[in-house]
Symmetry: D3
Subunit: 138 residues, 6 copies
């Protein structure tokens, strides 16, 4: 069992705000992240797959293919976008790092054979990140 990780990055805006909460509650919970016009990040996305390398090619998965999947299913949709408005499959979400990691997993998982996708890690700033490994705990 080998783990292979590909790193990608994208720049996006977001605002943390819940319509189910009052303005006062929003600012109490999300503080400066609730600034209505939004702020943004250089997000880093690390996608890890696992399995046994092909004995013929020495590859677990061709990195070109892994890069293509990540771009087509996530990066192209979120890069240089406002995550609260521009991404159909994020509508209705509060785009915290935790939620984004889960949503990105849902976008990516169908592209792989069962069990191959191991972890989706989303680095929001150099000081915080979230990762998701799917519903079954390792």
């Amino acid at each position: 069992m080998v783990y292979l990780t590909r790193r990608a990055s994208f720049s996006a805006a977001h605002v943390l705000w819940s319509n189910a909460l009052s303005e006062e509650e929003n600012f109490a919970i999300y503080e400066k992240c609730a600034n209505p016009r939004g702020h943004g990040h250089n997000y880093i996305l690390e996608v890890t797959v696992r399995g046994t390398p092909d004995t013929k090619t020495g590859m677990l998965l061709n990195l070109t293919e892994l890069k293509r999947i990540i771009n087509e299913r996530v990066i192209n949709a979120v890069d240089h976008k406002h995550l609260n408005y521009d991404v159909p499959w994020l509508q209705g979400c509060i785009p915290t790092a935790e939620v984004l990691a889960m949503k990105f997993w849902q976008q990516l998982a169908p592209a792989f054979p069962p069990g191959m996708l191991y972890e989706v890690k989303l680095i929001e700033t150099e000081n915080n990140w979230a990762s998701y490994r799917g519903k079954e705990e390792k």
Copy 2:
């Protein structure tokens, strides 16, 4: 002559768009950076001062004081903000890294004795940054 640098970071949204240009021209020039809702970055700001360290304290400038100046004059105004809308002294600017470096210089320079502020460097992504050293070339 010693150079002393303090690094700070902030997260902000921006959009590159000029009202003096047509929509077509805006997208031709700024490409994905012209996305109307904006996108964002984890900006890194590096401020360099220069001079002769005080023989009594060994300090060119107290780092606590340098940090305070950077926070009060720049970071507090731009952190977790949308640079096109939320910052009075950026109104009317196109917030490219080049323009931001110059504007931040203008905010910072009055806080220092003449000649002490040496360079303002603004890192927009891990792949591009701009710096400004004032009107007189070194």
Copy 3:
């Protein structure tokens, strides 16, 4: 199950020396780390919690709260300190990265609901680090 990590840093001095060993043994085991006056590091502490994000807020744990816990229980006690002398709850320890990771876990664990604290990682230099996940193996 989502994992959320917060990174903090602190600068501290330490010396690796055991009073249960002779001077000769100390230098044989700890080499240059046994220099009596001590040396120091810019330590990086990464604290990972895990759980299910709140469906209302999208947060596993508010990062402001996580930061507060880390500061109050660890950073404030060790930042700009000498780890062998200045920290009551490290008295009698040999402050290797392994031991510090375990001690920091003991400081942090009572602040979280059972099972929420997942990992404490302590990076001593860019070339070595230690992590601890509590007594029950994952």
Copy 4:
């Protein structure tokens, strides 16, 4: 159970090419990595061991000893070398990151008590890396 990691680096050349495949297939699979003269990387190797720190020394394993093992068993053999030609124990391999991680594990494992070696991680570029944890899954 504490995890302790030591990072090392080496610079090497390699080419991804399988003699079991046609030239056309090689270029289809490995693309620019199949350039016959080879290309190269600044590889980063992170070796993680796990166990209980010695109560007398506070150490899981002396970092000097861990460094010596990594250098003698891996770094000295691969640093400033062409991985396809210069390393006897890599002969016949296609030196992908996945394969290298597994081969380095095989070199390193016999130097440790059973169960102590936990993970070998090989970072090929800032955008991709592979890790191996041996035959028994954690």
Copy 5:
């Protein structure tokens, strides 16, 4: 006067060897870098231009254009190549970081108006790099 930098990376092999020197002299001077089959690096190239931003666009030079120039004139020629054999305009050179920085400058300079290209910096490893600012000292 604003300085704008774009970072690019490439992976290449090279060997330091001079045909004007004996085998003994080559190994005495270049040590492990003289290994005949070559070794390699993940090189990072930082290209800095300077000038006054266009008041209409806020740009000193469009980053898309700067990226295109760097790719067409340098990266495409050296990425995943062996620098001693695969690059026509490096033939006869000893590809040290110093020489590469100068050669890259020569490739890049004709693409810019006089005086715009300010510095070419080539990072060979995390521990050494070279930069060149053309024949006229700043």
Copy 6:
């Protein structure tokens, strides 16, 4: 004129305290850095030389030689040491980053032909650093 930089690192303890000042003044100026037992850092030292590469070797200065000079004249004296007590040529200094950069320059300069040493940069933490270019301004 090419610039060549070599990076080195060392871990050391220090305390910012001036015997010419009262205890009250020391804490007012140096704040937490005045903690009597000291604290510490993983310092990074970047030494830049400049000149014209030798046409025969392609080298401005052999990196092995540059590394040797840096180790013999600075690193060996300060690594794993307490800068206030253990380094004869730092006695009587207040070891701020500014002062250390100047002192390291004085240690290094005599090892090079006149004009070759260009800059000594000392990175104290990821958020602050100082550099010194000698008495004659560039």
